[in-house]
Amino acid sequence: MTLCLVITAIVTLLAAVCAMSLRNLVHCALTLAVSFSGIAAIYLQLDAEFVGFTEILVYVGAVAILVVMAILLTRSGETTQPSVLTSGRLDLIGKFAGIGVTAAIFTTLGWAILSSSVLAKPGAVAPQVTVKDIGEVLMTRYVLPLEIVGLVLTAAMIGAVIIAYKEEAKSRSQVLPGAQTKTATSNQPAVVPPAENILKKAGVA
């Protein structure tokens, strides 16, 4: 346990606390990126270089940016959350109950970690992992999980596009005067399958 690891861990935890407690959501997203970078640095010090760089690519590069985009699209960075002092009593009780449950979880986990004799043994020697090893393992032993993860990512991408697209297509058709009278007379919004709608908009169909 080197000093460097301790400092990285402290920075990571402080950034995580800031990401969960700051009032301005944009600041939350930025401190979240700092926290992810700290976790990546911890991975690097644990001899998991590939995972560390993947963490930077996926979390700092994609997830943090996605969170910033979601904050901007929902315009929640401008409005400030109600502070703890002005919120109601039930609200305060709920917050304290949540923090109490959290403290209980951490106490249990910490007690289990510190009292275990198995975990106190010194670790093995540092493994030499090259990217070639990872590729070989991924292409032989873990090839089926790899394909399934590819399928899941494709499904998630299509799903995210359809979920975020549908309402916009509907509201735009309601803006048109013709569409508005049609929906008003039939008393039912025009039902268009979302996938077909997207294809039409893209000019494919």
Binding site: I39, G98, I134
Partner: protein, 103 residues
């Protein structure tokens, strides 16, 4: 304290912070951020056990973390798309105001 215990303690603290945020904050995006922090804590656990375990050359925990990161990215994309869709529909992203399914 061995390095493994230190990593597990950091991970437990990170999990606790993420859990507290996911439970106490009202904003949907912050709840998702808390879930991401909890997932990262689990990944840190896996890496620590891989590094200090008896057989690091088998790369089991390492590969598990790679797959778990891919699933976490998919979860974040779908979750944030849902937040945006709910915002368009109801003009709010406060979790307490979205309660149509409450009995």
């Amino acid at each position: 304290m061995s390095p493994l215990q230190f990593c597990l303690l950091v991970s437990a603290l990170l999990f606790a912070i993420g859990f507290a945020g996911a439970v106490t904050r009202r904003h949907a995006i912050l709840a998702l951020v808390g879930i991401e922090l909890m997932l990262n804590a689990a990944n840190l656990n896996l890496i620590a056990f891989w590094r200090f375990g008896p057989h690091p050359e088998l790369l089991t925990g390492f590969i598990f973390v790679l797959f778990s990161m891919a699933l976490a990215a998919a979860e974040a994309a779908v979750g944030l798309a849902l937040v945006i869709a709910i915002y368009r529909h109801k003009k709010t992203s406060n979790l307490d105001e979205v309660k149509e399914l409450k009995g």
